[in-house]
């Protein structure tokens, strides 16, 4: 066994070990609301805004809203941090965080608006036909 092979095997083993542990550590499963309530680590949930009655306090950087998933189940979500600028127009929201007590505490929000990167034909047809 020469030095080169030893180094290569060590490198591979180390990279594999770091890869697997990092993967497990940072993995956030995409799950339904029911599972999210009992999950331990960080998880992702997605849904639509259940209604427009959300509480947005920009000064305190606080946002609280209700998310409805595809089964119609509703879960309250709270978020503390920089409010996504396009939250008012959200079609669907992905929240990353964990369930705490009576609500889902989001650490990160992905807000998806219609037609952000791809034109949405239906909306356009409604808005701009002559």
């Amino acid at each position: 066994m020469n030095l080169k092979i030893i180094l290569a095997v060590a490198l591979l083993a180390a990279a594999a070990a770091v890869g697997v542990t990092s993967f497990k550590k940072t993995m956030t499963p995409y799950i339904g609301f029911a599972e999210a309530r009992s999950a331990s680590g960080l998880v992702q949930v997605n849904g639509k805004l259940a209604d427009k009655n959300y509480v947005l306090k920009p000064q305190e950087q606080f946002l609280s809203f209700k998310l409805r998933d595809e089964h119609g189940e509703v879960m309250p979500v709270e978020y503390r941090g920089v409010i996504p600028g396009n939250f008012d127009q959200a079609v669907s929201v992905v929240a990353i965080g964990k369930y705490e007590g009576d609500h889902f505490e989001a650490q990160q929000l992905l807000v998806k608006c219609p037609s952000k990167y791809q034109a949405e034909a239906d909306k356009a047809a409604k808005g701009k036909t002559s």
Partner: protein, 771 residues
């Protein structure tokens, strides 16, 4: 270009029917000229494919047909592109694509960028760029040219087929008079050139793939190395240009303060590039020592497969639930015949062809006559190649996490911290190898003389690490990266200087190593050790943040009708006016914010507007049904709601009675809410005195409430408060400096490798070993 009789016949056989049949179909309204161009390109690609296939079977004459058809195809694609630009610039909204990605009010300087605003135009651009590269490759006088062209043409057949089925020239679904426009985020100078550059990079990976396949087919396991080198380096250089442009755009426009976010789209262009850099270094080892033959074939095929795989992940919509950045609707990949299925078949085609050929030849590819020496340049380059492959594999695993985990349970994604965790230690290994390898000679090196050569670099690295720790880098991996990169910087400086003494060609590659190490030191400093804070700025009042004085002076509207937040800043020995774009975009239905960046030699001050605080809440007064409030001498009573559901909209009229000194005036302000989301449209009602009453917000629950903006209580413009994030980016200039040096080195290396092609092979060998 000489056209003999056979070539002329080919041109006529393709173009005349296209003009006649196409013309007739255009005349009858069944097709338009753009679609005719797409058809001509597809049929020419097929013809060229059959032609080159015939040459593989020994029919040399068919090569003329193939080359001619290939040129016709290029002209057809160029015609299609010109036609697309023409309909964009002439606002031909009878084309769905023109409607979807441009509009009349779009500034002219961005109209041409609408070309690649959507998937269909992007595929046309991809076809055109690949064909253009093919035209250059076709001029190459070598036995491998014809088979290479056959393999290069394979993906073009499929790409032009997409042009026929789903080109950008489909008729509109309705009679439009204006278009949707292009996302304002993309209406930026960097964004108009960034996509075509990245697409040139993406397209260019096809050439090493094609030459590798041809070499495998023709059993020429070493002869492909020299001619493929300039192409492989071209991919490195162009792709890197694309990254840097994307990074500059993200930093200057997006306003989140970074230049790289480990987004699927970024990762997708990173993985083929990492693989490609592994290939470039493997080819150099193979040329000098004859080893790594199999690995290089594998990497050439894999680079292109990864390009296609990345396109699949980001364009098919499989990741739509995991990225705000995906280009496709989330169901695109489920549609039979959709782009997802098409991209999968493209991956299957490239993978089966490339890996199939490699497997069939695997046993007969000769092993190196001499094993990699234990302590030699090639050993450490091989380890470096391994590090690149590991980075590539780990990033690919991360970005594929939703697909991989779907096999075992609920689909999961990894946090972006995953990428930093796995690449950090690899970057340390990379820096050390980057410093060690260039100091070594090929074949064998004596450890004693290496120690002597490496000592100054090691001393510099220790000093660098001490400075970093003293400056506040107190975690192990970042400090280790600074140490390793400082070592690489010093070692390569010595090698570069030695190389340039012998002629520029001997130093350029090592200059790139220096650029890479400076870049990484800049990344560590700017991303991990900046300060950031959020501060509220009431207009006209002085506030302090991070040692700077800030006064928000107000909003100013520019000639394009966009608002800018003007902030006077004082700090770091400089007084300046920060001017940050901050305006409402109808397209995005949200506020567009562009940061102000004040540049200093050692750092940037980055001021990013967050929001206007309280602008909406201060705007009105809540009324319950039946409630009466007095403002000034007017008594307002909110009587009832009148909801009228309409076509995808909800029209809400509030019945309000204004009592002005005994005279009652009915007011009917209206709010229209579109069901698809979007900002409600308000129509105010007018008081006899001239003031307006409009709905600000409505709450149909709890018995019904309405928020009205009333004259005299309207939001007071003078008391606006702007929330901003102020941050510093230490040594961000090292990032740009390193990137530019790396880029210059890559392009010069490409020229150098292209020049080498014209030399005697023996001389080229010598040049390499002298460095």
């Amino acid at each position: 270009m000489r056209i003999d009789r056979l070539g002329l016949t080919t041109v006529l056989a393709l173009v005349v029917p296209a003009l006649l049949v196409g013309g007739a179909l255009v005349g009858s309204g069944a097709l338009n000229w753009g679609q005719v161009a797409c058809w001509l390109a597809f049929l020419s690609a097929l013809t060229a494919g059959f032609g080159w296939f015939a040459t593989l079977l020994g029919r040399e004459r068919a090569g003329t047909i193939a080359r001619t058809a290939f040129r016709v195809q290029w002209v057809a694609l160029l015609g299609g592109a010109v036609f697309l630009w023409w309909i964009l610039f002439h606002h031909q909204f009878q084309y769905q694509y023109v409607h979807d990605y441009s509009s009349r009010d779009m500034p002219g300087k961005y109209v041409y960028a609408a070309f690649w605003g959507g998937q269909e135009g992007t595929f046309l651009l991809w076809s055109l760029l690949t064909t253009t590269l093919g035209l250059i490759l076709m001029r190459w006088k070598h036995p491998l040219t014809q088979p290479s062209m056959f393999f290069l043409n394979l993906p073009i057949i499929m790409l032009t087929f997409v042009g026929v089925v789903r080109g950008p020239f489909l008729a509109s679904r309705a009679a439009y008079t204006d278009g949707v426009g292009l996302n304002p985020l993309l209406q930026d100078w960097w964004m108009t050139i960034h996509p075509p550059v990245l697409f040139t990079g993406f397209s260019s990976f096809v050439v090493p793939f094609a030459i590798a396949c041809a070499a495998l087919l023709k059993r020429d396991y070493d002869g492909w190395v020299k001619p493929v080198l300039p192409w492989a380096v071209l991919s490195t250089a162009v792709q890197a240009t694309g990254f840097i442009m994307g990074g500059v755009w993200a930093y200057k426009v997006l306003g989140w303060g970074g230049y790289w976010g480990w987004d699927p789209v970024e990762n997708g262009s990173l993985i083929p590039w990492l693989c490609n850099i592994g290939l470039v270094h493997g080819l150099l080892v193979q040329r000098a020592t004859g080893s790594l033959r199999r690995t290089n074939f594998f990497l050439a095929v894999t680079s292109y497969v990864l390009v296609l795989y990345a396109s699949f992940l980001t364009r098919s919509g499989v990741l739509a639930d995991f990225s705000v950045h995906s280009f496709a609707a989330s169901d695109e990949w489920r549609i039979p015949g959709g782009l997802g299925g098409f991209l999968l078949s493209l991956i299957a085609m490239a993978g089966l062809t490339g890996y199939g050929l490699l497997l069939s030849r695997l046993r007969e590819i000769p092993r190196a006559t001499q094993q990699l020496g234990a302590f030699s340049r090639e050993s450490f380059m091989w380890l470096g190649q391994l590090v690149f492959m590991l980075m590539c594999a780990l990033v690919a695993v991360g970005m594929s996490a939703p697909l991989i985990t779907r096999l075992f349970g609920p689909p999961s994604n990894v946090q972006t911290s995953y990428y930093n965790l796995v690449n950090g230690p690899l970057a340390v290994a990379m820096g050390l190898l980057l410093g060690i390898a260039p100091l070594l000679r090929w074949r064998q090196h004596e450890p004693e003389s290496f120690v002597r050569a490496a000592l100054p670099a090691a001393v510099f690295a220790v000093l660098g690490a001490i400075v970093a720790v003293a400056a506040g880098v107190r975690t192990f991996i970042p400090a280790a990266i600074v140490f390793a990169m400082a070592f690489a910087l010093a070692a390569n400086l010595a090698v570069t200087l030695r190389g340039f003494k012998a002629g520029w060609k001997h130093g350029v590659a090592f200059l790139g190593h220096m650029g890479a190490s400076v870049l990484l030191i800049g990344v560590i400093a700017s991303s991990g050790y900046g300060l950031a804070t959020q501060v509220q700025l009431p207009q006209g009042q002085r506030r302090h943040a991070l040692g700077y004085d800030l006064v928000f002076q107000g909003m100013r509207r520019d000639a394009e009708g966009k608002d800018h937040a003007i902030i006077a800043v004082n700090g770091d020995g400089r007084a300046f006016t920060a001017n940050a774009k901050f305006y409402w975009s109808d397209y995005n239905q949200g506020y567009m914010k562009k940061p102000h960046i004040e540049r200093f030699l050692t750092h940037d001050i980055y001021i990013s507007p967050l929001e206007m605080v309280g602008a909406d809440e201060a705007g009105g007064t809540w009324f319950a049904v039946g409630e009466t409030r007095q403002v000034g001498n007017v008594k307002y009573t909110f009587q009832s709601f009148l909801p009228e559901p309409g076509d995808g909209k909800m029209k809400l009229t509030a019945n309000v009675i204004a009592d002005i000194g005994g005279r009652t005036v009915p007011l009917k302000p209206v709010m229209e809410v579109s069901m698809g989301g979007g900002r409600p449209v308000m129509t105010p009602a007018y008081l006899p005195s001239g003031g307006t009453v409009s709905i600000v917000n409505a709450d149909p629950n709890n018995g019904g409430r309405v928020m009205l903006a009333l004259p005299g209580t309207e939001r007071d413009r003078a008391s606006q408060t702007l929330a901003v994030e102020v941050s510093t980016k230490p040594f961000i200039n090292l990032v740009w400096l390193g990137a530019v040096v790396m880029l210059a080195s890559a392009f010069l290396s490409m020229i150098r490798r292209a020049l080498d092609l014209r030399r005697e092979p023996v001389r080229a060998q010598k040049v390499e070993s002298a460095a």
